[in-house]
C-alpha cells in the first residue's frame, strides 16, 4: 500500500510541480480574428493582426462607440517572427484558433504567397476553411474599415463573401481550396476587395495565380464568366447593352455548364456546353415579351452576349497562362493516359488547347408583367 502510494505520488509530481504546460487561462490569450499581410521593403512582410476585445464583443456589451477590436502591426521577415513580436508587445499569447479571415495585400500577392501559406499550413491552430481575400491596396487598411452592422471588420469582409447572396460574381475561396489549386495544375483565384471612398467596400473581381504568385486579374464580368464555366455560378443580375443605347437587364436564375474533354487522334480539346435560365428584370425596348418570337429574340441576345463574355474570359486566361477552369483536372480524369504528357507541360499546352463553347438559354418569365408598361 505504501509502495503504491509513493509510486503514484512520484508519477503525479511532474504534473503538479511544474505547472501545466498547455493550460492557458483565457485571459492570457490574444484572440486573433483576422490577419493581414502586406509587402514591405526588402522582401519583408508587414503583418497586421486584428485582435478581439471580448468584453466589448459579448452579447450585452456597452455602447456603439467602444471598439470590439484593435489592430497591431509589425514588420519583419517571417510571419512567425511577427507573431512572437506581438506576443512580446501585448504580453499575451497569440491564439489563432478562431481566425476568420486572411487578407493579403496586392503587392504581397504579386510577390508570391508560399511563405504565408506555409505558415498557416504548418501551424495546427488555424483551420483550413478560412477564406482568403486580396486587398486592392494595403491589407491593413482593409482591416480597419468602417463598421456598419458588424462589430469586427473581418466579420464585414467575411459577410461580403458569404455564398448565401444571390448575386455574386466572386466566390468565397478558403485556404484549402487555394492550396488544392496551387499544388495541382489549375490556377487558383482569390477575390479582390476594394475599398472605395465613404467606407464602401466592393468586390472588384478576382486575382489569378500561377502556383503561388499573382499574375493578373479578372474583372467582374470575366469573373462571372469563369464561375459559369466552372459550374459554380449561383445566379445573379447581368446587363446587356442594346444597340440603341438601351439596356437589357436580366437575372440568371440557373446556370449549369457541362465541360467535356475530347480526344481525337491524340488531339485534346474541351467542349463546354452552357445552359442558362434567366428572367427579365427590366427592359428598355424589346417589344412585347409574351410572344414566342420575342422570347426567342431575347434568348438569342443572351446567348450571343454570354458567348462573347465566355470567349473573352478564355482569351484572358490564355493571356495570363492560367488555367482557372480546372481543365487540366477534367482532361486528366477522362483521358489519363493520353493527356499525361500534355499535363506535364501544362504551362505551355494550356495556351494551345482548343476550347469550343455553346450557350443555350431559356427565358422563363418576364416578371409579373404581361405587356410592357410604356
Amino acid at each position: 500500500m505504501k509502495k503504491t502510494a509513493s509510486i503514484l505520488l512520484a508519477l503525479c509530481m511532474p504534473f503538479l510541480l511544474s505547472g501545466c504546460w498547455s493550460s492557458e487561462e483565457i485571459t492570457t490569450l490574444a484572440i486573433v480574428m483576422g490577419i493581414g499581410v502586406d509587402a514591405a521593403a526588402d522582401g519583408e512582410y508587414e503583418v497586421t493582426v486584428q485582435i478581439a476585445q471580448p468584453s466589448n464583443l459579448k452579447f450585452m456589451s456597452g455602447g456603439d462607440n467602444q471598439d470590439a477590436y484593435f489592430n497591431a502591426s509589425s514588420t519583419g521577415i517571417g510571419i512567425q517572427q511577427q507573431m512572437h513580436q506581438f506576443e512580446t508587445e501585448l504580453s499575451r499569447e497569440i491564439y489563432n484558433g478562431h481566425m476568420e479571415m486572411i487578407v493579403i495585400g496586392k503587392e504581397a500577392a504579386e510577390g508570391g504567397l508560399e511563405q504565408i501559406m506555409d505558415y498557416f499550413y504548418r501551424e495546427s491552430e488555424a483551420r483550413f476553411n478560412i477564406p482568403i481575400v486580396i486587398a486592392d491596396g494595403k491589407a491593413s487598411d482593409l482591416l480597419d474599415v468602417e463598421l456598419k452592422l458588424e462589430r469586427l471588420p473581418v466579420s464585414r469582409l467575411a459577410g461580403m463573401l458569404s455564398t448565401n447572396r444571390v448575386d455574386m460574381v466572386v466566390r468565397k475561396i478558403t485556404m484549402d481550396d487555394f492550396l488544392r489549386n496551387a499544388v495541382s495544375n489549375s490556377s487558383a483565384t482569390l477575390p479582390i476587395i476594394e475599398q472605395l471612398e465613404e467606407g464602401a467596400l466592393e468586390t472588384k473581381g478576382v486575382a489569378v495565380f500561377d502556383k503561388y504568385k499573382m499574375v493578373g486579374e479578372l474583372d467582374q464580368e470575366q469573373a462571372r464568366s469563369m464561375l459559369i464555366l466552372t459550374n459554380k455560378y449561383g445566379g445573379g443580375i447581368a446587363t446587356i447593352e442594346l444597340p440603341d443605347n438601351g439596356v437589357f437587364t436580366f437575372e440568371i436564375t440557373k446556370s449549369s455548364a457541362s465541360v467535356k474533354p475530347e480526344c481525337e487522334n491524340g488531339e485534346l480539346s474541351v467542349n463546354a456546353e452552357v445552359y442558362l435560365e434567366f428572367r427579365v428584370s427590366d427592359v428598355s425596348e424589346i417589344g412585347e415579351l409574351y410572344s414566342d418570337e420575342a422570347r426567342h429574340n431575347a434568348e438569342k441576345m443572351v446567348n450571343a452576349a454570354m458567348f462573347e463574355r465566355l470567349a473573352d474570359v478564355i482569351t484572358r486566361s490564355r493571356e495570363l497562362n492560367a488555367d482557372v477552369f480546372d481543365f487540366a483536372d477534367i482532361i486528366y480524369c477522362r483521358y489519363p493516359r493520353e493527356s499525361e504528357s500534355s499535363i506535364k507541360n501544362w504551362d505551355e499546352e494550356f495556351r494551345n488547347l482548343p476550347v469550343s463553347i455553346s450557350v443555350t438559354s431559356k427565358m422563363y418569365s418576364s416578371g409579373a408583367v404581361l405587356k410592357n408598361i410604356q
Binding site: I7, L11, P14, F15, C20, W21, S22, E24, Y121, S124, E125, R127, F128, N129, D176, L179, R180, V183, S184, D329, Y332, C333, R334, P336, R337
Partner: protein, 367 residues
C-alpha cells in the same frame, strides 16, 4: 458466479476496437496512394488473406488455444518459446510504434505546450490501469465502447457529406502499379498485420468461439471502416491528402459550419484517442503475455509497470523524432512486419500441417 472467459462478441469487440486504432496511421497509405487511398484497404485485405487462412486453419486445428500455446504445441517446448520470444519482440515494437504515434498526436494537436514525454507517460499510465484490471474486464468494457465509437464515426462521416467532392477520387486506378503494390503491402502488414495480436486471446475465449470466423468478421469490419476513413479524407481534402500528417483529423476540422454544429473534430479526436489507446493497450498486453509464456512466470502483474516505463522510454529513442515514424513506417516497417505477420505464421502453419499429417497418416490430408 461471473464469467471468466471472453464471449464471441466480446472478442470481436476487442478486435474491432483494436483495428479501429489504425486511424492514426492513415497517412502511411494516403501519402503514397493519394486519391486511390480508399481502394487500398481492399487490396491490403487480399494481401492479408494468407495470414487469415493461417488463423482459420490453426484455429480449427487447435481450438481455444492462444497463439503462444500453439507455438509450443507445434514447435515443441524450446522451439515454441523461441518463436514466442520472436513474437514478443514484434509486439513490443508494435506497441512502441503505436505509442509514438499516439504521443505525437496528443502533443501536437491536443496538448500543445506539453512535452511529448508527458503525453507518453500518461498514455502508458492509462494502459497500465487497464491491464491491471485484466483482459476480461477490458473485453467486457469494449462492447459498449465499440458501438459508441462506430456511431460517432458514422455521425462524423454523415456530417461531412455536404462538403465532400466526389471528383477528388477521379481518375481512379491510373497510377503506376508500384504505388498500389507498395501501399497495399503497407496496409496488409501494418494495418491488418498487427491484428495477429488478437490470436493471443484465443485461449481466453469460451467454448463457442470459432477463431477463424471471428477473425474474418473483425477484418471485414476493419476493412469497411478503413475504406470509409480513407474515402472521407480523399473526398474532403483532395490532392492535399498527400501532404498532411494526419489527414483524417484535418478532414474532420474542415467540416461543420462555423456556427453551432461546428468543431466536430472534438468527436473525431475522441475516437482517435480511444482507438489508438486501445491499440497500444492490446499490443502491450500481448507482449507481456508473451514474456510470461517464455519465462514461465505465474503472473505478469509485477512486470506491468516496468514494461510500461520501458515502452515509454523506448518510444522516445526508437525513432529520431516522431516525424520519422512516417518514413520508417513507409520504408522499413512493412518488410520487418511481414516477417512476423506472414512468414512466421505460414511457417507455423506448414509445420503444424506436416506434424498433423505425420501423426495421422491414415486420415490422409484431412485436418
Amino acid at each position: 458466479m461471473s464469467e471468466k472467459k471472453l464471449t464471441k462478441w466480446q472478442f470481436i469487440s476487442i478486435g474491432v476496437f483494436f483495428m479501429m486504432g489504425t486511424i492514426l496511421h492513415t497517412s502511411f497509405v494516403s501519402a503514397i496512394a493519394g486519391r486511390d487511398a480508399w481502394l487500398i484497404p481492399i487490396m491490403g485485405f487480399v494481401m492479408f488473406l494468407p495470414t487469415l487462412i493461417f488463423c482459420w486453419r490453426i484455429g480449427n486445428m487447435f481450438p481455444n488455444t492462444g497463439l503462444y500455446e500453439i507455438n509450443e504445441l507445434v514447435f515443441g517446448n524450446i522451439g515454441g518459446r523461441i518463436v514466442t520470444f520472436l513474437y514478443f519482440l514484434f509486439f513490443l515494437n508494435v506497441a512502441t510504434l503505436n505509442h509514438v504515434e499516439m504521443s505525437a498526436f496528443s502533443a501536437t494537436y491536443l496538448l500543445r505546450g506539453t512535452p511529448i514525454v508527458v503525453c507518453g507517460i500518461m498514455i502508458v499510465m492509462a494502459a497500465v490501469y487497464a491491464i491491471k484490471k485484466g483482459i476480461i474486464t477490458v473485453g467486457r468494457a469494449s462492447g459498449a465502447l465499440v458501438i459508441l465509437m462506430l456511431v460517432l464515426n458514422a455521425i462524423s462521416f454523415i456530417q461531412a457529406i455536404p462538403q465532400m467532392d466526389i471528383d477528388f477520387t477521379a481518375p481512379a486506378m491510373v497510377q503506376s502499379p508500384g504505388v498500389y503494390a507498395r501501399s497495399s503491402h503497407i496496409s496488409s502488414t501494418i494495418m491488418y498485420g498487427e491484428g495477429l495480436a488478437l490470436m493471443v486471446f484465443a485461449g481466453r475465449t469460451g467454448k463457442k468461439v470459432n477463431m477463424g470466423k471471428s477473425m474474418l468478421i473483425i477484418m471485414l469490419i476493419a476493412m469497411v471502416y478503413m475504406i470509409q476513413i480513407h474515402l472521407r479524407e480523399v473526398l474532403l481534402l483532395g490532392p492535399l491528402v498527400q501532404f498532411t500528417r494526419l489527414p483524417s483529423l484535418e478532414a474532420a476540422r474542415m467540416t461543420g459550419k462555423s456556427d453551432t454544429v461546428s468543431r466536430t473534430e472534438s468527436i473525431y479526436s475522441l475516437i482517435m484517442l480511444l482507438c489508438s489507446l486501445f491499440r497500444v493497450l492490446i499490443s502491450f498486453f500481448v507482449s507481456l503475455s508473451a514474456l510470461r509464456k517464455v519465462f514461465r512466470l505465474k503472473t505478469y502483474q509485477a512486470l506491468v509497470v516496468p514494461m510500461a516505463a520501458f515502452i515509454a522510454a523506448y518510444s522516445l529513442y526508437a525513432l529520431e523524432s516522431p516525424e520519422d515514424s512516417y518514413f520508417y513506417a513507409v520504408n522499413t516497417t512493412p518488410f520487418i512486419w511481414a516477417l512476423f505477420t506472414f512468414v512466421l505464421p505460414m511457417f507455423t502453419l506448414v509445420i503444424a500441417v506436416i506434424k498433423r499429417k505425420a501423426k495421422l497418416p491414415d486420415r490422409g490430408g484431412a485436418v
